[in-house]
């Protein structure tokens, strides 16, 4: 089975990632609705912990700021939904007959920016809540995969730009 073009692996992956992103979007909407009616957090049986409904299953020990907990949870799941949606768009655009196109380059650029968002978010958050030795632990290590994915995407974008240029020249070679 071919990787790009019609009826390719890319077109299957497009559907898979799109479905996942839609499901996550529905979860996000569910959580926002629960948050608005104030039923997103509930106490554990012993009353010592707060559990966020429909979350990743973690139990938080008495957070001093519930809103911060809500924001983080929503950001994570909303971000993941957006991330998967953009991944699905990349696969959709490479499912076309011509792999090298302006559309792919634009989506790859957006994907690169989206990959830097967690790093920038963590950076800004940790600067505003300043404490010692936060950078390597909270900002760099936890977001290293995203930063590397972002940098890799920038390189791939440059390759696609070159590919588009070569393809255009080839199309205009008579």
């Amino acid at each position: 089975m071919k990787m790009f073009g019609n009826k390719s692996i890319a077109s299957i992956l497009y559907r898979v990632f799109l479905t996942m992103s839609i499901l996550l979007m529905l979860v996000t909407i569910y959580r926002v609705t629960n948050m608005l009616v104030g039923e997103d957090l509930q106490y554990s049986e012993d009353g010592k912990y707060i559990v966020q409904k429909f979350s990743d299953g973690l139990v938080y020990t008495e957070p001093d700021n519930y809103n911060e907990l809500r924001k983080r949870g929503l950001f994570n799941i909303g971000y993941l939904s957006l991330y998967l949606f953009i991944v699905s768009l990349i696969f959709k655009s490479v499912s076309a007959e011509s792999v090298f196109s302006r559309k792919v380059i634009t989506i790859l650029r957006i994907f690169a920016i989206v990959n830097f968002v967690p790093f920038l978010y963590a950076l800004i958050y940790n600067i505003t809540t300043w404490r010692e030795s936060w950078f390597f632990e909270d900002v760099l290590y936890s977001n290293l995969a995203f930063v590397l994915a972002g940098l890799s995407t920038l390189i791939i974008t440059a390759v696609f730009k070159k590919g588009l240029k070569v393809q255009r020249e080839n199309d205009l070679t008579i």
Partner: protein, 69 residues
């Protein structure tokens, strides 16, 4: 661009239509139009050979270099 394609001139000299030339050399009229208008980035030797054969001319009759500066 400093390379000028004089295909129109040769077609007029040979009293041949673009459509007929495209058919003889086996390219589309759209591609021949790109070539005639000077929008082409490059020309294959095989295409040039086919054009020269069809129009009974030399490559220099079709392509001309003009210094822009």
């Amino acid at each position: 661009m400093s390379i000028i394609v004089n295909l129109d001139v040769m077609l007029a000299k040979r009293k041949m239509k673009s459509k007929d030339l495209a058919e003889i050399i086996g390219i589309t009229t759209a591609n021949l139009s790109i070539l005639k208008s000077g929008k082409a980035k490059a020309i294959r030797f095989s295409t040039l050979e086919a054009i020269c054969k069809a129009l009974d001319c030399q490559p220099s009759d079709i392509l001309e270099y003009i210094d822009d500066e």
